[in-house]
């Protein structure tokens, strides 16, 4: 039932707005004639509706959620409450420095922490999600070439396994995205890379470990070759969780990186954001960082804007990015400290390798059986699809009936019937075992009753939804009058 269907004309949540005068001084013709048909419900009706709706979600707080590439780890509750302290939550973004030292000191320290864990020379917290971090990074690469009057560079190289945001970002920055194939062992095809490199190469976008869940071993060589061709290296930080305290993008030779704080730094995913995608750069890209940033004279903190950073690629949002998300990441980082940071990579990697081994032992097919898993790994259900007639989607939907969120399916695109599985470090072994057991069980079900599997899920608020109809018979909002029907 939609909230609109609880609505009755004249009903109101009256605790929430006192009467008010007619607006003075506004010409009649600018005033709205017909009220928007927003729901008219009592406060309790809204509370009940949205409480019950919430219960229809899977979430980290209720289920194992091994969605590959998304790092669905525990979101500490303290990060939420501390970022919402009255003094922080009421601070106006344009408050003067005199009334911002507390907030700015945290932001400055976060910049320093992120520099340290990534091995970069400077960090801007401005980007509001990973994709905007990517944008900033590629825009900086462009600004760098432009500043050197090196204007013939029109291509960004992107491995075929890359996340969709990578090629889309390249295009948003006015580049052509050129795909580089992957070898059977999961590493980049060096010959193809060499062929692709040239004076038209502006740079390459990589994540390491890659979205295939393996560590790109020849990263140094790739860096040398790309640099050799005059291109720069961009690091997609979505997979930083795998390497915290083990290896740093800066040390691998990357010139610019973004981080997904909603992944590695455990800020909540919120049903689709908000995130935060700070960018870090090596020395040579420093002048181009997006503004605003926080600077310090060693005692007080101040904003760095256009004035101090005339070569900056500029501003990415009306204010200073997703500050509340940054505060959550700050709290998280402070709770972890050096040792905790290190352990993130250790235990997320342990969990992934354990799951991979157990699945392989149970007869499932690893996409890269010769490789170590990193914090995530891929299995391909190609064999099951062929032999049993149930595909990765069927497995995914049936897992929901077992009370677990499905892994990422059908991404990366180059692995057929693919499950990208990321358990994260905060899951206990019991969850991992339960997942493997469910997979085995589902395969048994497929053997006896494949049709049944294709009907899954059965125990959720709805059964499998008709996506085709959703896209063909577009129904994108409630129509007034429906509640009367």
């Amino acid at each position: 039932m939609l909230i609109f269907e609880h609505s009755k004309p004249g009903r109101r949540a009256q605790a929430q707005a006192p009467s008010a005068d007619k607006p003075a001084g506004i010409p009649e013709k600018l005033l709205r004639k017909r009220k928007p048909r927003l729901p008219e419900v009592s406060e309790m009706q809204a509370v009940r509706h949205y409480t019950r709706l919430s219960q229809k979600n899977f979430s980290i707080d209720t289920q194992f959620y091994p969605l590959g590439s998304c790092t669905m780890k525990y979101n500490p509750r303290a990060c939420n409450s501390l970022a919402m302290l009255p003094g922080l939550i009421n601070r106006h973004p344009l408050a003067p420095d005199t009334h911002s030292q507390g907030f700015m000191s945290a932001m400055h320290e976060l910049q320093e922490i992120l520099k340290e864990v990534t091995g970069m020379s400077a960090v801007s917290l401005a980007p509001m999600a990973g994709a905007q971090g990517e944008f900033s990074g590629i825009a900086m690469i462009r600004a760098y070439h432009d500043a050197r009057n090196d204007t013939g560079r029109t291509e960004i190289l992107v491995p075929d396994a890359a996340h969709g945001t990578n090629p889309a970002t390249a295009v948003m920055c006015g580049y052509k995205a050129r795909e580089i194939p992957t070898k059977a062992d999961g590493d980049v095809d060096m010959d193809a890379l060499q062929d692709a490199l040239g004076p038209q190469t502006a740079g390459i976008m990589l994540t390491n470990p890659s979205t295939l869940g393996v560590f790109e071993r020849r990263i140094k060589e790739i860096a040398d070759r790309v640099h050799g061709a005059g291109g720069l290296l961009y690091y997609d930080g979505a997979n930083l969780n795998a390497i915290l305290g083990r290896v740093r993008p800066g040390d691998m030779g990357f010139d610019v990186i973004h981080m997904n704080l909603h992944k590695t730094f455990s800020t909540p995913h919120g049903g689709g954001g908000p995130g935060a995608g700070p960018v870090g750069v090596s020395e040579r890209l420093l002048p181009f960082l997006p503004i605003p940033m926080v600077g310090t004279d060693g005692r007080d903190f101040h904003w760095l804007t256009e004035e101090q950073c005339p070569q900056s690629i500029g501003r990415l949002s009306a204010f200073a990015g997703n500050a509340g998300v940054l505060l959550r990441a700050y709290v998280y980082a402070k709770m972890l400290g050096a040792e905790g940071m290190h352990r993130v990579a250790d235990y997320s990697t342990l969990n992934a390798n354990y799951m991979l081994k157990r699945l392989m032992d149970a007869g499932f097919t690893a996409a890269y059986p010769e490789r170590r898993a990193t914090h995530e790994f891929i299995i391909t259900l190609k064999k099951e699809a062929k032999e049993l007639g149930v595909n990765a989607m069927d497995f995914a939907k049936r897992l929901l009936d077992y009370g677990m969120h499905a892994p990422t399916t059908y991404f990366p695109l180059l692995v057929p019937e693919c499950f990208l599985i990321e358990p994260t470090e905060t899951e206990a072994r019991e969850s991992l075992d339960a997942f493997v057991d469910a997979m085995i069980q589902i395969r048994e079900e497929a053997k006896t009753d494949a049709e049944k599997l294709k009907g899954a899920p059965y125990s959720l608020p709805v059964r499998r939804l008709d996506d085709v109809r959703a896209a063909r018979e577009l129904d994108l909002h409630w129509q007034p009058g429906e509640d009367q029907a």
């Binding site: 010409p27 928007p36 922080l88 344009l94 945001t165 689709g272 709805v462």
Partner: protein, 466 residues
Amino acid sequence: MPFIPHTDKEVRQMLDVIGAESIDDLFDEIPDALRCGSLESLGDGLWEQEISTLMQEKAREDGQPLCFIGAGAYDHHIPAAVWQLATRGEYYTAYTPYQAEASQGTLQLLYEYQSMMTELMAMDVSNASLYDGASALAEAVLMAVRANRKSKSRRILIPRALHPHYRATVHTLVKNQGIELVEVAYDDKTGQTSLDDLNRHKGGDFAALVIPQPNFFGVLEDVDVLAGWAQANGMLSIAVVNPLAMALLTPPGEWGPQGVDICCGEGQPLGAPLSSGGPYFGFMCCSQKLVRQMPGRIIGRTVDLDGREGFALTLQAREQHIRRSKATSNICTNQGLMVTAATIHMSLMGAEGLSRIARRCHGNLQLLVGKLTGLGEIEPRFSGSVFHEAVLTLPMETRQVLRTLAAHNVLGGFDLATHYPELGNALLICATENRSGNDMDKYRLKMEQVLASRRQGACATMAKFD
């Protein structure tokens, strides 16, 4: 090791299953030369009590001043229910609803959000959020350039009276695609976007005209004329509006002869706390015919195998995870939780509630303007009618005034000197429903003292007053 559940025994057992000696072994594919040190500058982790104390100190440090700044971020009352619900784990710790069946809570809520926004804006369709108002405008500009088949131009008309940070953001985000922003001046008397200046561009090839309502000065634009002008000149029109104002003012879907093509703006006034500027959310609506050019998530209603109603992501062929380099945008993670809050906020307020808050803010602004201009040396800068914010002219340097007020814990408004030096000693002020009569009196009193001490040529001694 905070948040890690493994016991030593389990680690050993798991390593045994893997067939590894130690956790270090699992990293053996990383070339030795690349391994990093121990991140020791991060120091020891704090336990929850320590970080709580630290954050409380930082929060206290910023002093909770009395704030009369608006300028794109507004201190509205948010019903207590909003965040108590939005931070429920099931909303807070879920992700983008890729598995629709396991995400009907978020999906239905987003569908309801889309329904509310199309109603509020009187537009055909809404997406499920973009990052913020400024970047949403950038997306709208890119969309207009893609969508305007009549125009071959990559030029956009953008009023100088639009929020300067919006203009800067749009510039950053579109310039690499060779899109040019052409500024339209404002009328020095009214503060409205200048029709005269606009008419200089008559017959020019532009993809779109951007129309703010209200504009950055709080001044109300003659939106019917502007939208009509755009249409008449073969441009798409892009509205940038304050969503709260739309409970009171004519919505973009009804501007001019047939409404605007795209509208967008900052969702913050719908339930997002000030929070130092974010997270907020950008909203975007458009006409039906442009829906396939829209960036961002869109939710559709459909049915399940049993014919039961359900909700799912739809039109994904626009998006980067399907279309990659041909996507309408690179956006992926957006601002879901803020939209959750906004949806609950709008449900609680209803149209009448939003309209009352809008009227109350507007009434407060008028009160405040009255109190300050009543001091004698302060004047409203523009003659155009305003909503909710206004520009005043001061008899002395704005920066100086604001600094002295701030020393008394009053944030007196936004100094226009940097972005609009042509306006002289101009100050943009705002008084939401959260500012009481007492608050405004306090402001007036402090301002009076500033002016008085100026007359005595003794501004420096001001800090002694109380």
